[in-house]
């Protein structure tokens, strides 16, 4: 797309000058930027950057205690906040080709602003529906001011079965003493190739808890990151992932400790079926000066088929002496003891396998903040596993 055309579409969409210029600058640098780096995972021939002209508006229920609104309304109604935070503080447009593409072509989005000292009891639930007829360049910007507490649940599904791309970014700004739970259940369709980047900036004594159910049926690369800037900041990132068919997924999950006494834990569980491929990279980075900090990670994958490919790579980069850091990684098979136990109660082998797998994913499942979403995710997992078992059966 030409810069002029991009500017014209944005202006017709009633976007302010600074926002249009941000798009334009991102478009200018996009071609020169490298792809995001996903270690041990090759996706250089994925076609991820089509032109986009259509905008998708999102209607949301207004609330008295916080701002939850369509991002295109937000850029006009809350220009200062958006200028300060949108692709500015957490993720930058020029980090890689896909962040630049995102900035240039973002066509759907949500802005959540939670003012100081606000506690929101009920989880905020967002259902994102991607239509496979158009690229889906979705942005969620969450700004949590000091002393706030809330849960945010995001579901994402696809309607239609045409090939499409999705480029979805979530930015969270967690100011001092905020406490945020973010749960995602991603169920993009089989023909959707996606790039997901979710990142939090965590301030002093703030806490960000990520629970991510990666249930996409199509090829996916993902970057789940937390930057622990504040002293005493804390983040837990839990990811469950099931791949089947000929799906390819590369997941980078990174926590960087900048602040003293900051705590970052990564816990990833993957189930790899059929001929699919799943790479988990867990990256723990402790910056010089982050004394007393803690970085631990577990990356475990279960191989359900001899034709599946998978790996769990812990990567620890430590530039400070006074820290606690550790990692565990495993590539294994279904726990035979658990399987035996279930079967000894008369439960058939396939059902027992699914229950054992659910147990393997349990750490992440149990930490999802809504019972309803947890049960939905369990159903999705059951369905994916049943389909996967069926495919393996048929290909024997």
């Amino acid at each position: 797309m030409t810069p002029d055309k991009l500017v014209q579409i944005a202006t017709e969409n009633n976007e302010p000058e600074w926002f249009v210029q941000k798009r334009r600058m991102a478009l200018d640098v996009m071609d020169e930027l490298p792809l995001p780096e996903i270690q041990r995972f090759d996706f250089h021939n994925w076609q991820m950057t089509p032109d986009v002209s259509q905008k998708i508006r999102t209607s949301l229920q207004p609330n008295q205690n916080f701002v939850l609104t369509d991002i295109f309304d937000a850029i006009n109604e809350y220009p200062e906040l958006l200028q300060k935070y949108y692709m500015q503080k957490v993720i930058k447009p020029d980090e890689n080709k896909f962040t630049a593409y995102h900035t240039a072509f973002m066509n759907q989005g949500i802005f959540l602003y939670v003012p100081k000292n606000t506690v929101i009891e009920d989880p905020i639930e967002i259902n994102l529906e991607q239509n496979s007829q158009a690229p889906f360049i979705s942005h969620i910007l969450i700004v949590a001011e000091e002393n706030t507490q809330f849960s945010f649940i995001q579901k994402m599904t696809t309607t239609g079965d045409q090939s499409a791309i999705a480029n979805c970014i979530v930015e969270i700004v967690a100011q001092a003493n905020s406490n945020i739970k973010y749960a995602a259940v991603d169920e993009l369709g089989e023909n959707v190739t996606s790039y997901l980047s979710r990142r939090a900036y965590v301030g002093q004594n703030a806490y960000v808890d990520w629970s991510i159910g990666m249930m996409n049926s199509g090829n996916t690369i993902a970057d789940f990151d937390t930057d622990l800037y504040g002293e005493g900041s804390h983040s837990e990132i839990k990811v469950v992932d099931i791949t089947s068919g000929r799906q390819q997924q590369g997941i980078n999950t990174r926590v960087t400790n900048y602040g003293k006494h900051s705590i970052g834990h990564i816990n990833q569980r993957g189930v790899i079926m059929d001929r699919s491929r799943l790479i988990f990279n867990g990256i723990g980075h402790i910056i010089n000066g982050a004394s007393g900090s803690n970085a631990e990670q577990q990356n475990r994958v279960l191989m359900m088929s001899s034709k599946a490919h998978g790996d769990a790579n812990p990567i620890l980069l430590i530039d400070e002496n006074d820290v606690i850091a550790g990692h565990a990684a495993s590539v294994g098979q279904v726990d035979q003891k658990q399987l035996y136990y279930l079967m000894s109660r008369g439960i058939d082998k396939k059902t027992a396998q699914r229950l054992v797998i659910r147990g393997f994913l349990g750490d992440v499942l149990v930490s999802i903040p809504s019972k309803q979403i947890r049960e939905q995710l369990i159903q999705t997992i059951e369905r994916k596993l049943e389909n996967g078992q069926q495919v393996s059966e048929n290909s024997k």
Binding site: Y341, L342, S344, I347, R358, G359, G362, V366
Partner: protein, 264 residues
């Protein structure tokens, strides 16, 4: 009436690290009918648990000779789940823990595994049965919403095994050291659960070191196992005699050449 017969059973176990095989059971014979409670006593390391695990079908135990018949039909070629659906139940010494699967969901799956696709147990019937059994075992309702055995104390795990027994209602239950690690109150509760199953359609094989459990669950027959064989059968008071004289006493009386594991 159902029958369970163990005939001249020889079982070996493979040491995966050392790649060696060791024979544990050396010709076990046993016959049980529903309506009967049998107890197997014996010193440590004599093959009691091996017997129960082999009957259930645990794949680490290899039958090299002999047979196991359930209602006259050999079950050696049957997978574990099929044996269970045919009426066998093993209350395990070390039940597995599974996070993310609730106790209630697991119990329903186990009950439904025995029923045809178009006749699954209704939620009401299930809850009614569950409440009744929870009360019998003095267990709180919360236990059923907890994840399967996860974070359960030793006593809670044992109770949970008996809860499953009561819900599944097998023909034959193998109870492997169900008394280990239980205080006297828990022991009474567990025994109450097993006794409530007594009847024409239920038989149990109770494996224990100690006579204590048999004060609460009166056996019809006591078998003593040593060195991979059943060396003596007798009525309930055989257990009392053993308690008094010890396994070494019986061994010497029978003139057996068996080394007891805990003997120095």
């Amino acid at each position: 009436m159902a029958t369970l017969e163990v005939k001249n059973l020889h079982v070996e176990i493979e040491d995966e690290e050392r790649k060696t095989k060791k024979e544990i059971l050396k010709g076990v014979n046993l016959e049980m009918k529903t309506g009967e409670i049998h107890a197997i006593m014996g010193p440590n390391g004599t093959g009691k648990s091996t017997l129960s695990q082999t009957i259930m079908g645990q794949s680490n135990y290899h039958v090299t000779e002999g047979d196991i018949l359930l209602n006259g039909e050999s079950i050696l070629e049957m997978p574990v789940d099929e044996r269970a659906r045919k009426g066998l139940f093993l209350a395990m010494q070390y039940p597995a823990e599974i996070q993310g699967v609730t106790n209630a969901e697991f119990l329903r799956a186990a009950i439904n595994a025995r029923r045809p696709e178009n006749d699954k147990i209704s939620v009401m019937d299930f809850l009614k049965e569950l409440d009744k059994n929870l009360e019998l075992l003095d267990m709180s309702q919360k236990m059923t919403e907890r994840y399967l055995n996860e974070g359960f104390s030793g006593g809670e795990k044992k109770r949970n095994e008996i809860l499953q027994l009561l819900m599944i209602k097998p023909n034959f239950a193998l109870l492997d050291e169900i008394d280990s690690g239980l205080d006297i109150d828990a022991l009474k509760v567990v025994s109450k659960g097993v006794n409530s199953m007594r009847g024409d359609n239920f038989g149990a094989l109770i494996i224990t070191h100690y006579q204590r459990l048999l004060n609460y669950i009166q056996p019809d027959v006591v078998h003593v196992m040593m060195g991979g064989r059943i060396v003596k059968n007798g009525p309930a008071d055989l257990a009392l005699k053993l308690e008094k004289e010890g396994y070494a006493g019986l061994r010497d009386e029978l003139g057996l050449d068996v080394k007891l594991v805990d003997e120095d």
